[in-house]
């Protein structure tokens, strides 16, 4: 069972948890549908969601696209070696100028930066890799091409987090 917990000033109760569970599965569920399901009023749903937004628990809801349908089915992971680690910030700024770089992390281990790129096809990916290879301060890259995106889902983790609380 959900426990009531304290997040700073905010306390979440059973109703909040149930609302979150529904929104995690589909952020666009209309408040009236949530209200019907939980046998509460739409006004209550609205108030609860606003409370959680103001408390910073819900930061926003994001748009999930079908990249494959939009023609962007190519995913690659690129490990980046830097010439000098003090160039990290500059290199990250340059990576940010390439919209196809969707994720970048400063990492321990073999690489200095590890990033994800999304492209239309191999030729498109090639041109993105060329751009990355040409960034001043990058000495070398290693590209791993995704064969299949098998897991890309934060919902299970979100449910787990709220269940644990």
């Amino acid at each position: 069972m959900h426990k009531i917990f304290d997040m700073g000033k905010v306390k979440l109760d059973e109703i909040d948890h149930q609302i979150l569970d529904i929104l995690i599965d589909n952020t666009r569920t209309p408040f009236t549908d949530i209200a019907k399901k939980l046998l509460i009023s739409a006004g209550t749903v609205h108030v609860r969601v606003r409370k959680m937004e103001e408390a910073g628990i819900i930061r926003g809801s994001s748009l999930t696209l079908d990249y494959v349908k939009l023609g962007y089915s190519f995913i690659a992971y690129v490990g980046i070696f830097l010439e000098k680690t003090h160039q990290t910030k500059f290199v990250l700024e340059r990576l940010k100028e390439i919209p196809n770089v969707t994720v970048a992390h400063i990492t321990t281990g073999k690489f200095n930066i590890f990033c994800k790129i999304r492209a239309k096809d191999t030729t498109h990916a090639k041109n993105i890799i060329f751009k990355i290879d040409d960034i001043e301060g990058i000495s070398r890259t290693e590209t791993m091409i995704s064969l299949e995106e098998s897991i890309n889902d934060k919902k299970r983790l979100m449910h787990t987090i709220f269940n644990e609380l």
Partner: protein
């Protein structure tokens, strides 16, 4: 006059420090007016050579990036051509006044670096004018008030002509004057000239020629001069297959400058349709110097691309291969390709000082 007739001795190396041109400038000074217009960060003189006495003024500068020497070598051959000239070319000098800065960045030239001694890229200093070299260039630009500017550079081996596999030996640019890449009068004239140069070279040779990226950057000198209303052409000396010392590129660049001056002196460019500029294929990244196929890194075979790092060792440029990109897809085309599953290729690599490390 063809390049063989005018080619100067002693300019065969990619390394061209100031002392390599001092003697030549001295010899030119008997015929042409030579002057020191400023000094570099480390107090090396920046010199000019003035040729001709016509009303059309052309300002040319080379080795703004110290390690881009091919254009300087070609430019010195061009000056030699005017020294030897008798007929047609002598007449050009009635029409033209050419002011040449053969080495704008003498400190970078001595250290074989792109940047100057303050580690500043002079071609990103057109607004700040923070460096003595850029200040000297802008002062001479203001004093001389050129009708045309030639901005002479060298580019790496990584480019091909459009989507083809033809390496770019020469690239041209009519720089933008603003972010929306407006075709201003100055830019249009630069485009017309480029179309003229391109077609005259195309009929004589089969080398790869491309159009350089025209994204606007006010810090680039060519963009700044175009914005100030002077038609400016960026010339990039690129790679000719197998020609790492750029002897062939030097010749083609001489031909390029020769045809550019001829077009200006004879007004042969004024009726050229500028929009044909956009028919010249773009300069596209495609090449690495070396590609090792079937590179085995624990399971999956990858392609390893290496580029030569140009290192200055005892006054010589040594080409040391350095890995730049490894992938499971053949992204780069190699100027040289070795298959690590082919025994002959492996033997070749084994006997190479640098490449044996990659077997």
């Amino acid at each position: 006059m063809d390049h063989n007739t005018v080619k100067l001795q002693g300019l065969d190396s990619r390394y061209l420090p100031p002392e390599g041109i001092l003697g030549l400038i001295d010899s030119f000074s008997t015929e042409f007016h030579c002057e020191t217009i400023g000094h570099s960060v480390e107090e090396r003189p920046i010199q000019t050579i003035k040729i001709g006495h016509g009303s059309l003024k052309i300002l040319m500068w080379s080795q703004m990036h110290g390690n881009e020497t091919t254009t300087t070598r070609a430019l010195l051959d061009l000056i030699n051509m005017f020294q030897l000239a008798k007929g047609e070319q002598k007449e050009w000098l009635e029409k033209l006044t050419i002011l040449v800065i053969p080495m704008l960045n003498p400190d970078g030239a001595i250290y074989y670096t792109r940047r100057n001694a303050n580690d500043v890229d002079l071609n990103r200093d057109a607004q700040a004018l923070s460096q003595p070299e850029t200040k000297a260039l802008f002062t001479i630009y203001q004093d001389f008030q050129p009708d045309f500017c030639f901005n002479l550079h060298g580019q790496r081996t990584r480019y091909a002509v459009g989507e083809s596999e033809v390496p770019t030996t020469l690239a041209f640019l009519a720089p933008s004057a603003d972010t929306s890449k407006t075709i201003t009068d100055a830019r249009k004239q630069a485009m017309q000239l480029i179309v003229g140069i391109h077609s005259s070279l195309q009929s004589a040779t089969k080398i790869g020629m491309a159009r350089y990226d025209d994204a606007f950057n006010a810090q680039c000198v060519g963009d700044a001069f175009t914005a100030m209303g002077t038609p400016t052409i960026l010339f990039e000396a690129g790679h000719y297959p197998g020609d790492y010392h750029r002897h062939m590129t030097r010749k083609y660049l001489y031909d390029t400058l020769y045809s550019a001056l001829k077009l200006i002196a004879t007004a042969g460019w004024t009726n050229i349709e500028y929009s044909m500029y956009f028919d010249i294929p773009e300069n596209k990244t495609s090449y690495a110097d070396i590609v090792l196929k079937n590179n085995n890194t624990g399971g999956t075979k990858t392609q390893l691309a290496l580029n030569y790092d140009e290192q200055l060792i005892d006054g010589q440029i040594v080409f040391v291969p350095k890995p730049i990109s490894e992938s499971y897809a053949p992204f780069y085309i190699g100027h040289k390709i070795f298959d690590l599953q082919n025994e002959k290729d492996v033997d070749t690599l084994r006997s190479d000082t640098h490449l044996s490390a990659f077997i």
